[in-house]
Symmetry: C4
Subunit: 178 residues, 4 copies
Amino acid sequence: MCESGEDAAVVGAVYDRPYSSRLKPDHILEVDSSGRVLKPTEGKPSAETLLHLAIVRTLGAGAVLHTHSVWSTILSDYHIGHGGFFIEGYEMLKGLDGVSTHEHREWLPILENSQDMEALAVETKRALEHNPEIHGFLIRRHGMYTWGKDLAEAVRHVEILEFLLESVGRRQMMEPQY
Amino acid sequence: MCESGEDAAVVGAVYDRPYSSRLKPDHILEVDSSGRVLKPTEGKPSAETLLHLAIVRTLGAGAVLHTHSVWSTILSDYHIGHGGFFIEGYEMLKGLDGVSTHEHREWLPILENSQDMEALAVETKRALEHNPEIHGFLIRRHGMYTWGKDLAEAVRHVEILEFLLESVGRRQMMEPQY
Amino acid sequence: MCESGEDAAVVGAVYDRPYSSRLKPDHILEVDSSGRVLKPTEGKPSAETLLHLAIVRTLGAGAVLHTHSVWSTILSDYHIGHGGFFIEGYEMLKGLDGVSTHEHREWLPILENSQDMEALAVETKRALEHNPEIHGFLIRRHGMYTWGKDLAEAVRHVEILEFLLESVGRRQMMEPQY
Amino acid sequence: MCESGEDAAVVGAVYDRPYSSRLKPDHILEVDSSGRVLKPTEGKPSAETLLHLAIVRTLGAGAVLHTHSVWSTILSDYHIGHGGFFIEGYEMLKGLDGVSTHEHREWLPILENSQDMEALAVETKRALEHNPEIHGFLIRRHGMYTWGKDLAEAVRHVEILEFLLESVGRRQMMEPQY
């Protein structure tokens, strides 16, 4: 479920339903910027390839990662009424590209989920154009998208954002600050 | 604690009380559709073999898996008063056989636990006949049953349903949506 | 932190403060029923050896295990006002020696913690004589003791009780049953 | 992110932003008591080196460790209004150097986070001089610092304090004691 988009060479998720622990490296396809499979020659890119491509095209991202974690799933549902939420004041925010202080206010937009991938790709493009400074977004009851200029940065953004989602989620389950 | 039921060849759990991390592959017995042990020649199938067989017979399942997780245990207790609960709107539902959209409403029935396996097998058969479209069910304060046309599908259903149980459980521990 | 007490041969925890992940097998001492070290020839048995011995002597246990887990620590604090709590209705209770149905009511006593090991050993003996049918007990904000006729059974009891503690702890953090 | 400060030989964190799982042993720099890199010859010590040095100088610590965990992050936010919180009555406190009973009251101060490392080092020095008996402190929404006379002791303090933070955090999410 990753895309590495240097020069229109894009890697996309694949084969059937690789939700499981059985996902293997050769289940990952490489596709070009139009979504055509480059290698291996067999296999069908996942339906969400359009979203990966929308991120590559709109932001010039070099790699896109998509995760299905418990905390992204439930926070995307909890905050849907506000269209997203801010993560603010955490040191770990400095792990996001271009952020140099914890006094940063990161907006994490939430899109409604849809099986119409073309419509969802349009929504994604709109959200990114509206918030070009963000580092990721959630899809309701579905998961997170994040990206980077290369795969290493995208992996770091996954680690940072998943840590922050768990922290924010557990924090709000405590009583309000006294 | 699995059964793979092709052509009445069924694998059932075994030996004493293998609840522990010490469960090993050769603790798994293969039994036929009447519950008779095919191999190894020694060992006694677990008392719950009757439930596995009820699922194989009623639904034609090729494999049955039974798990004892924390989230299935406590949600089966929390929702017992309604006889089950719905899991709805989650993308991960698409990992269940035949589900192609998150706009799916999955009913997860809960049976009262019992040590009378014949009675519980009858209850299981009844629940499955009543809800032929389900992918799993819970037994109160006990655990989950799920299945598939083969072992790979049953394993995927375990992963999907356990993820959803944790998500649903943690989600309901947050305040109601604002 | 285990004792295996066949024929007064007892294994006890050791060396300084092995709370950490650095505990190694040869940090475990073998001691006799009077607490004297059998092997290795060096090393000092932990102060809690007296508690292990009290369990061996009072119940004839063949092995004693002591764990410091998060759930035993916090539940031993939460329920101290009642001197313990019941675990009831869970299938996993069947993993405890002599329990053949989930319709079992397991009392888990809680002792106040103390650094006076002789006094605590007396309290332990009293609690065990009062509740000879129990399979474990907690010490407040400290941890759990469990045992078995041999090390394998004691290990199984650790797995069963720790699972039940997490289940009971998470269950009570949900709203009351509706 | 550790420093081992024997004889002004100090090890400090390094290279860019090693928040991720990709941190490797050779990302760790050795610096002297003025923060100058001893080896390897390349690499830049992390900005937080000043805090590590403040601890080494004020307390004579032989090793300093800094962690970013979920529980330290959220408890440092929850309790900021009181400038810290006590951890009291837990057996595991005995894993802290010089503590011989659970009847110990450990103060865990919380400092406001800052990107001005010189100011934060001054605050750290002040907090340590004010509380010379502590074993660690938190920085708000950032993480924990702890130390020891050598690396082994500092590692043990990380394990003890992280265990206690999780226990204290989960305990306060239960209802108040009845």
